[in-house]
Amino acid sequence: MNILVINAGSSSLKYQLYNMSDESVLAKGLVERIGMDSSILTHKPTGKQEVTEVSEILEHTTAIRKVLGMLTDAEHGVISTIHDIQAVGHRVVHGGESFKESALVNSEAKSEIRRLFDLAPLHNPASMMGIQAAETNMPGIPQVVVFDTAFHQTMPEKSYLYAIPRVLYNKYKVRRYGAHGTSHAYVSQAAAEFLNRPIEDLKIITCHIGNGASLTAVQGGKSVDTSMGMTPLEGLMMGTRSGDLDPAIVPYVMNKEELTVNEVNSMLNKHSGLLAISGVSSDMREITEGMEKGEPNSTLAFDMYEYRLRKYIGSYAAAMNGVDVIVFTAGVGENSIVLRQRVLEQLTYLGVELDEELNKIRSGDPRRISTANSKVEVLVIPTNEELVIARDTHRIVQASQLEK
């Protein structure tokens, strides 16, 4: 079965085509600047030359039509007709409380995703456009939606509720939903497989650290707590997001600086984090360079980032009364040797023993970076959200076809 995985943003669309018989990627690519005269389609067929096409793509339906054109193109294509695609899997950011797992797209699922627009105004409408565009271009082909929040739906009330009037939860569903669920699910599962131990017996802390960053406490294979909240602003300090702060700062600053709701939102999401403290960059690589050159602001930004990450690991170890495995993943987590080192060398009280040499190895494979003596296994596992989407789609479509 060939499965097309789609991740639609408001003006972009990423895709990967999987052959599920061996989980190989046949092609992947990206459409950027949807809605403009000069949209860019970058197509990378496995084993062939990358191609770029600039054309006017005004909306997602045209974008997917172009992608299908590329996939079936005589020269750059990897399949002969669009009928060689048996299912489509979509990434959807917010599944609210209604979606505890991936689901087949039908009219109820679509209206539920629409009802959730309010909670994810920037993301869910784009996903919806992707779903509709795929439906228009590939009528009758089953589609599956995979949610960033679904994995965290196992959190107990004590983790997901905020200590504010309950009426806000009852009326508006104000609660913690978390994010990066697909990634946390994938790397925790992969960690158990790597260690060859049943996930049911493990207490795992997964650290997904990229542009956005979140931690999850995974106990017995289930998410029991996660650092992102109702929105992806809560938790760790990130590239341009503040992470945790005293909520009283918001009205205080709004009043002092006469800020609107939009301005304060943009300040916390786009002008904070590493960028605000370093004054230079939101990119961990540049921050690290600055620190190595002895720049005080970059050094402070790094120290704050590391300190907050380490405190979260400590708090999740406390939440689960222990930790067996710590996993690092995503851009920074997979690549920043110095960040991992600085965090781990100060977790000796948990029994963590870092193998500095193993930590320095660069590789695209899952690997251990703790010593044989370490009481906690520390792993680096490259995440693969697209593969999870493809697998879920495969499983759900097969099950639905069996029912018929």
Binding site: L58, L259, T260, M267, H271
Partner: protein, 290 residues
């Protein structure tokens, strides 16, 4: 109708605000002024406005660049033929506006909506200068355009239902503002009420009842206005307030619309408010109170 490219005629305070807001919503804007110098000035004012938002963390450097890149400077009407809608926002002068509509009527295909940002003039009269009056409509924005989410949509006598529906869709779905429907009447709802309030504030000042500062504080703090009426007048431009009042005074013939003497005097002296650096209060180049 797929709205993608919008023409904005006139690069004054309102034209700058409308062009900036549309570009920030992701639309391509053709901004039209009489001369390249005036265009450059308008463009630089939009840049200043974006810089202020950047300072307040409202946008990022990348977003500022993107917004500016969507605004194209144009001095020839012919270039407007590719627009999906045109919004006229030149000075409140009936003859000048009629000339603009006459030209637009020639350049733009007959299904393209031609909107005027007029606050006091008759849409029916403006439409009379065109061959297709059914596509002419009023779209009255309020300063500062990027912050005020209200638009008065004004139907002239011949404005078609289709033109109204499309305009309402444009206002609510594309610019994400609330569109209220008003029928043609000088000053509509917003201008008629706010200019009277401002005029009354000037009467109070003239009568020596309270200082400018205290009049503004009374309304700002007492009734939760963002700016007091006199500062509001400075920000709108005293010449615009005077023009609106005179227009309404003439149309309605009622004394309550008669412009205050203080206002006339200040306009004659060229103290027009923020744009000249001084009105009832003083302002720096960025439009902040000194």
């Amino acid at each position: 109708m797929h709205f993608k490219k919008i023409g904005v005629i006139g690069g004054g305070t309102m034209g700058q605000g409308i062009a900036e807001m549309l570009a920030a919503k992701g639309l391509d804007v053709l901004l039209v002024e009489k001369t390249p110098e005036r265009l450059d000035y308008s463009y630089s004012m939009i840049e200043t406005s974006l810089d202020k938002q950047l300072e307040k963390w409202g946008i990022t450097q990348a977003e500022k660049k993107l917004i500016l890149s969507r605004i194209q400077k144009v001095t020839h009407f012919a270039e407007l033929s590719s627009c999906d809608m045109v919004i006229e926002t030149i000075i409140e002068d009936l003859d000048a506006k009629k000339k603009v509509f006459e030209k637009l009527d020639e350049v733009c295909p007959s299904h393209i909506i031609l909107a005027s940002n007029t606050s006091t003039l008759s849409l029916t009269e403006l439409a009379s200068s065109t061959k297709y009056p059914e596509r002419v409509i009023g779209m009255h924005f309020i300063h500062p355009v990027s912050k005020v989410d209200l638009v008065e949509i004004i139907r002239g006598l011949k404005t078609s239902d289709h033109t109204f529906t499309e305009t309402k869709h444009f206002v609510e779905e594309i610019t994400n503002k609330k569109g209220i429907m008003v029928y043609e009447s000088p000053g509509f709802v917003t201008t008629r009420m706010i200019t009277l309030l401002i005029n009354e504030a000037m009467h109070l000042l003239q009568e020596g009842v309270a200082s400018a500062e205290d009049i503004d504080d009374a309304m700002r703090i007492g009734y939760n206005f963002q700016h007091g009426p006199l500062e509001m007048a400075d920000r709108f431009g005293l010449d615009s307030i005077l023009a609106a009042l005179e227009r309404m005074f003439r149309e309605y013939g009622e004394l309550k619309y008669r412009p205050s003497i203080v206002l006339k005097k200040m306009v004659r002296a060229g103290q027009l408010g923020v744009k000249t650096g001084e009105g009832f209060f003083k302002y720096d180049k960025d439009g902040d109170r000194i």
